[in-house]
Amino acid sequence: MTKSLQKSQSSPSLHPTRRFYWDTESLGVVGLFTALSKVVSLMVALLGGGMNPFTLFLKNGIATALLVVLVARVRKFGTLALYVLVGQIVSFLIAGGGMSMLLPSFLVAALASDALIAACGGYRRIGAVLAGVALYDLLGRAISLGYSFLHARENMAMVMVAGVFIVLGYLGCLVIGLPCGAKFVKELRHAGIIREV
């Protein structure tokens, strides 16, 4: 009886002190922000039409601001990579298998951005977070442009127009996303929602 009790207490599935690199709270935040980012982008795009320059600008800005908040909240190396993994699995379901072929390149972009944040002073510095997110957005857009070329390679003019819209989206990230993200983080820190541990 005592033996079986000891065995059940030491079984790995019930061990109370089991530690993971990714705690449940961080994983929950990553999942929720991925969902929020996708849903808000979809809503804004549906409101203003797919290639409307204004909504494109706003959509990318909001997605970047949410990403800044996510990285500032979780503060772990690999947050962007995990965000990409979850986002690409969801994209596989929403947009079909074509997008999932971009996973390796997006993963490399996210890891490079994570490395940049770590090199610039870590996740506690808002400047480093902004630099990392800006780099991730830039690399992500370059990859998207490559995919656009593959998809519409018969008509280079169409790829060029898509390129201009991608540049416009990146401007939205820089002009709206990063400043708004920094301001959101400041307000959330002030409110105690992003904790200074």
Partner: protein, 319 residues
């Protein structure tokens, strides 16, 4: 009177409505979208579109399919309008021969990218029309995703239905404060709109993350190495058959695509090679032909008594 639990029948759950396993549908989506990216001729793309449409009809949701196609047509026309308008704008803002030459062909082959989207939409609709959260969670459990992927995806699935409620509450809260949020206010007062909508949304989301993580910890979600499953998913004979047909048809279409000659590329190369070999192309013109082959073909003419015609077809005409 039967208890509520007596109504529960594992075979009638949403995940079991579909004749195919959801993993089969995901694999079909992966194969079709990858192959579609390779295909570029109208015939192969039309064949792929037709085959995937037959696959989609198996869902028997005809009204949804018609609505989806109408929406796609609308979005295609909208995109074409915006692309055409943008090209005209670029030509006005950046006048020049290069830009006008590039943009004058903006609507050439416009149908190919859109034709390429149809098979993707068909396979995606086939997944979407049979999708259920329960079935998706069951699939994630059955493929034994690691905890760091399983938990965020689970949270994702649970959040999306909640989001509608959150938006409704936010709209009511904004109205109570005397503001109105819409497309007009987003254009006129973008920062105020963001402050009124996005900040409360982030705060609510972060609180929801806290609650969900506490609930997941209490339930020990993601801790068990082999989670208990109510209904184990397994491939059946039909799944294997459909996957085999998909792979065979895709391979056949790729083979067909490889056999189709590319007329434009075939026509340009012999002309330049012939002109270089005959010496009818001056060095400066050779450089010009390398960069702007089409113009050089039109401008360069054979000169001198022994000059050979620039194109093999003209040889017969001169004799």
């Amino acid at each position: 009177m039967p208890a509520l639990s007596a109504r529960f029948d594992p075979d009638s759950t949403a995940g079991n409505r579909d004749v195919l396993d959801i993993r089969t549908r995901l694999l079909i989506s992966l194969v079709v979208t990858s192959v579609t990216l390779y295909l570029s001729s109208n015939a192969t793309l039309a064949a792929m579109s037709a085959l995937t449409f037959i696959y989609l009809l198996q869902t028997r949701r005809y009204v949804v399919i018609v609505v989806a196609y109408l929406l796609m047509l609308l979005m295609t026309l909208l995109s074409l309008g915006i692309i055409y308008g943008s090209s005209r704008l670029f030509m006005m803002l950046l006048p020049g021969e290069g830009m006008s030459r590039m943009m004058s062909g903006v609507l050439d082959n416009f149908h190919t990218p859109f034709l390429r989207s149809i098979p993707s939409m068909n396979v995606l609709l086939a997944i979407g029309l049979n999708f259920s959260v329960q079935g998706f969670v069951g699939t994630m459990k059955s493929v034994r995703l690691p905890r760091f992927l399983f938990l965020p995806l689970l949270v994702f699935c649970r959040f999306v239905p909640e989001f509608v409620d959150v938006v409704r509450q936010l709209r009511d809260a904004v109205r109570m404060r005397g503001f109105s949020v819409g497309f007009g206010s987003a254009i006129l007062h973008p920062f105020q709109t963001i402050r009124l909508t996005v900040i409360p949304l982030i705060v609510r989301t972060l609180r929801m993350a806290d609650n969900l993580s506490i609930a997941a910890e209490m339930k020990r979600v993601g801790y068990a190495k082999k989670p208990t499953q109510l209904r184990t998913l397994r491939f059946r004979g039909l799944d294997f058959a459909v996957l085999a047909v998909t792979v065979l048809v895709s391979a056949a279409l790729c083979f067909w695509e490889a056999r189709i000659p590319k007329p434009k590329r075939m026509a340009r190369k012999p002309v330049r090679a012939e002109m270089r070999a005959s010496g009818t192309l001056a060095p400066t013109e050779i450089d010009h032909a390398d960069t702007h082959g089409r113009d050089a073909r039109q401008q360069v003419r054979p000169h001198g008594r022994d000059a050979r015609p620039a194109h093999p077809e003209n040889e017969g005409a001169s004799k």
